[in-house]
């Protein structure tokens, strides 16, 4: 009968392409890493699930009219979702450690070398036959070195939307792998004696300083780097709402329900870019490789900067906290703390590493603004 034929035609079985099957397995892998290994589950669960859904033949969930496409169009093309995530992250971030010791910002600056070195590397890959990246694409890839998911998604959506899926997956995967990637580099670049350096306790920061900080950061951004205003502006608004103490109900919502809803939608939207035709390219291999390089260089630059600062400054600085400058909040700071405890069981570096850690968030948003200004 005709209807039976229609029904058989409408099963997925006869329509799968090899690429779709591979991409669904990639989705399953991301789910496995998220659930069994605890790798950035808040993002990788929706991304992995979105990767599966977008590759279902005939369902068209990632094509115009499909719900994943709707999320992408509503929130990523417009830049809305990463900015709302930044609002929430701002409302969740405590800058006390940075305000108490502002020089930690230099560590957040140094770690951005991972970004710009990777930019060079991505362009160099044009020598490899079959690989080709434009300056915009190279910049979007380089931002993976910023170790900051929403910044990477925001910049990729502006400069290289076709690579967004691979870039977002690389960024979140390597952020999750920070506890594996960073320690060998940190150990190689420091001596046991350096790792034992204890740091003086941070002073108490007043409420007033915490309120003024986001405004100060905003003013500087507006004056020097207006292209970074969307990212840093929403971040500062979130932080101001948290610290000012008069809009707690807004701050709580930005930290919880709003960021949660947007995270689900953003993850599915990113997942929808993991379709076979967009992801299964030689470029993706290049991106994954460059992302790893970016993290490694950023980590090394942070540690070396910390060593340098330890030499020239009066107050001693443990070089282990330099690696936290890549951001990847709060994992990178925890890695610094762990290696500090390994060297000396009484050496708690967590609070000290939070300074460079949040400085790294600012640093990579600044780097994104510079790339937007020069390449965008």
């Amino acid at each position: 009968m005709e209807a039976i034929q229609t029904l058989i035609d409408s099963t997925g079985l006869v329509h799968f392409s090899l690429g779709q099957i591979i991409m669904m397995l990639v989705g399953v892998l991301l789910l496995f890493l998220a659930i069994a290994k605890g790798f950035e589950p808040l993002l990788l669960v929706p991304i992995g699930f979105g990767a599966i859904l977008t590759n279902v033949p005939l369902a068209g969930m990632g094509e115009p009219g499909g719900v994943l496409y709707l999320f992408y169009d509503m929130g990523i093309t417009s830049g809305l979702f990463p900015l709302l995530i930044f609002l929430g992250v701002g409302a969740l971030t405590d800058f006390s450690a940075l305000i108490a010791n502002p020089r930690m910002l230099f560590l957040g600056a140094a770690a951005q070398f991972g970004i710009f070195a990777t930019l060079l590397g991505a362009i160099a890959l044009n020598w490899v036959p079959g690989l080709s990246f434009t300056m915009k694409e190279a910049s979007a890839i380089a931002i993976i070195g910023g170790a900051d998911g929403p910044t990477a998604i925001f910049l990729a959506s502006r400069l290289a939307p076709d690579l967004l899926g691979a870039i977002a997956v690389a960024a979140y995967s390597y952020m999750a792998l920070v506890p594996l990637i960073q320690p060998p580099i940190m150990r190689a670049l420091t001596t046991p004696a350096e790792r034992k350096i204890q740091m003086t306790q941070l002073r108490v920061v007043s409420k007033r300083e915490k309120i003024v900080f986001p405004l100060l950061l905003l003013v500087l951004t507006i004056l020097l780097l207006p292209t970074a205003t969307p990212l840093i502006g929403m971040f500062c608004l979130g932080n101001l709402m948290k610290e000012c103490g008069v809009v707690d109900r807004l701050s709580k919502t930005a930290q919880n329900e709003l960021i949660n809803i947007v995270t689900i939608f953003l993850g599915l939207a990113v997942g929808s870019r993991l379709s076979a035709d967009k992801f299964l390219t030689t470029q993706t291999l290049g991106i994954l490789m460059l992302g790893m390089v970016a993290f490694a260089i950023g980590t090394a630059a942070g540690v070396l900067m910390a060593k340098f600062m330890n030499k020239v400054s009066k107050q001693s600085i443990n070089p282990l906290i330099g690696s936290a400058g890549v951001s990847a909040v709060p994992m990178a700071a925890r890695v610094s703390n762990k290696l500090g405890l390994e060297a000396d069981p009484h050496n708690f570096l967590l609070m000290h590493a939070m300074g460079p850690n949040v400085a790294g968030v600012i640093g990579s948003a600044v780097a994104a603004g510079i790339l937007l200004a020069l390449v965008g």
Binding site: F116, N126, L371
Partner: protein, 80 residues
Amino acid sequence: MVADLLFEAAGLMLIGMVSVFTFLFLLVVLLQLMSKTIQRYFPVKQTEKSSHVSTTAAGGVSPTIIAAISAAVHQYRQKQ
């Protein structure tokens, strides 16, 4: 061709890192200035702090909850 791009990328790297450092250096200066100004004109009273410490001693339970529980315990005893 690639060499040209590489040269351009190297320029970007240089300008980029200089810009990042300049931006964050200015932020360091401003932050230190801000903290000094605030600490001079609006010195923090330490009283707030100490109350926090005593709260922590009670295992992270807020004074309000303790008051509520105290009332409840009181009521509970009267019932018996």
